[in-house]
Symmetry: C2
Subunit: 280 residues, 2 copies
């Protein structure tokens, strides 16, 4: 059990990581918004496999929430989060204030085209600009060799990969498999919003994804399969934002030249928005 | 005399700098577009004062030129540039191709508000987005402790400072004083475009700047002084884009609370655009 250093400032984080860096140890980072669950912990374990030292950031980033979204309601459980990380041998927890990340006069934006087009962007047009700037800032604060992102936010993973390559970020981006509840629901900090009834219904998302992916993989007509999937979700009470098949690397529309495909879904249950995805 | 390593790729640059970084030596970078003159060399000397190792980048960045501008005509003199840098003890020259910097699928933009508003942006609206992305890429390729930029491009210096702060770039931005010809003309790679007649006229820019700065500093009416300055330049054959007084730190409009002021000018002589600035 390591006692993680709790760093509130970029300067403190850099000081904490400096000895490891000078010893040429490998550093891995797991950016999170806190409210940690087993999904996050699996990312931390993956980070430990990739590096000698692990830093986890906990920062609920206001710039990736629209005014209508759940920034204020987003669960904040820092004490418990740090307790969980203590058991995993984390070197540092970077938990800055909003003012530390966005000081007075802040004026810089990062935008990523390519994989950010469509899907989430059609429903959360501000989202990836917010993600791009905060991920850039977090990675440049810690300068990790590796950063681990969950495949649950698959489009985000693709956007971060593209951005890291484009900006020459000195960090390799690793995607880690989604961790699921016993009934298949992807773990998410937002699952706490679900009522007991909604929670039971929620598992249908993964059922629909799995069955559609199998049917498409078996050569079925993707258009018809996706339309049926959307209907099945709607019949169960979901409001579907999208259920779409895309190129797994670029997230562009699937063409004859597409090497691998990914099926992605976003749907509301009551006031909770759930996303998930699966390889085809 | 050090033989500078000529690095064509980001990977080669990182390999070249790795031993210095692991020895905890300080690295300074001077980003340039080549066609080096005494102004650049003074930046390199300043970089040597700031660090143990100096890396100079030579890259004519297409994304900061508009289609109507002089990207193709911009002077390229790499062999001579490297010869000059050899005498200054430069560790590495980073001279990537356009394809190395902007590979297929490149999709990321960096935009800086604040100091980029107005002045150059009114006449070159694409310019600072191009600068922001390339400077981010160059600094992240080399990860210098310090980067030296000339005050001749004063607005660019302010934009880069803002961006470095906002993105948590691990690099301190240093501004270095403008180097001038005997008659006061600020050194610039674009001065080679001037005809002999234009070259004689060009020095008037600094005369007007100096006299206006003195008159404003003495408490004169800035509006009237600037209008007279614009007229004097126009009478000598310049087409003035702007001659403006701004807050020296934020480049915002001057108010009662402004701590220090900067006078900035851009004007055309024939087909050559000249810029300059001075503290008030």
């Amino acid at each position: 059990m390591t006692e993680p250093a709790i760093c509130r400032s970029i300067a403190a984080l850099r000081d904490t990581l400096k000895p490891a860096r000078m010893a040429d140890e490998r550093i891995a980072m797991v950016p999170t918004m806190g409210a940690l669950h087993e999904g996050h912990l699996s990312l931390v374990r993956r980070a430990r496999q990739e590096a000698d030292r692990v830093v986890v950031s906990i920062f609920v980033n206001p710039t990736q929430f629209a005014p209508t979204e759940d920034f204020d309601a987003y669960p904040r459980t820092e004490e418990r989060d740090v307790e969980l990380l203590r058991t995993l041998g984390v070197e540092a927890v970077f938990a800055p204030s909003v003012g530390e990340m966005y000081p007075a006069g802040f004026a810089t934006g990062v935008s990523v085209g390519g994989p950010s087009v469509g899907l989430e962007s059609d429903f959360r047009p501000h989202f990836f600009n917010g993600v791009a700037v905060v991920v850039t800032k977090l990675l440049l604060a810690a300068l990790p060799d590796v950063a681990v992102f969950g495949e649950k936010d698959y489009q985000q993973l693709c956007v971060v990969r593209r951005m890291a390559l484009d900006l020459n970020l000195p960090t390799r981006i690793v995607g880690a498999e989604t961790v699921r509840e016993a009934d298949g629901l992807a773990m998410s900090s937002r699952n706490v919003y679900l009522s007991p009834d909604e929670r039971r219904t929620a598992a249908l998302i993964q059922t629909v994804l799995t069955e559609a992916a199998t049917a498409i993989g078996d050569g079925g007509d993707a258009g018809a399969i996706l339309a049926a999937g959307r209907e099945r979700l709607a019949a169960a009470g979901f409001r579907v934002d999208y259920l779409e098949l895309r190129d797994a690397d670029t997230l562009a529309a699937v063409t004859a030249g597409t090497a691998s495909r990914r099926l992605l879904v976003a749907a509301w249950l009551g006031r909770t928005r759930l996303i998930d995805n699966i390889a085809v």
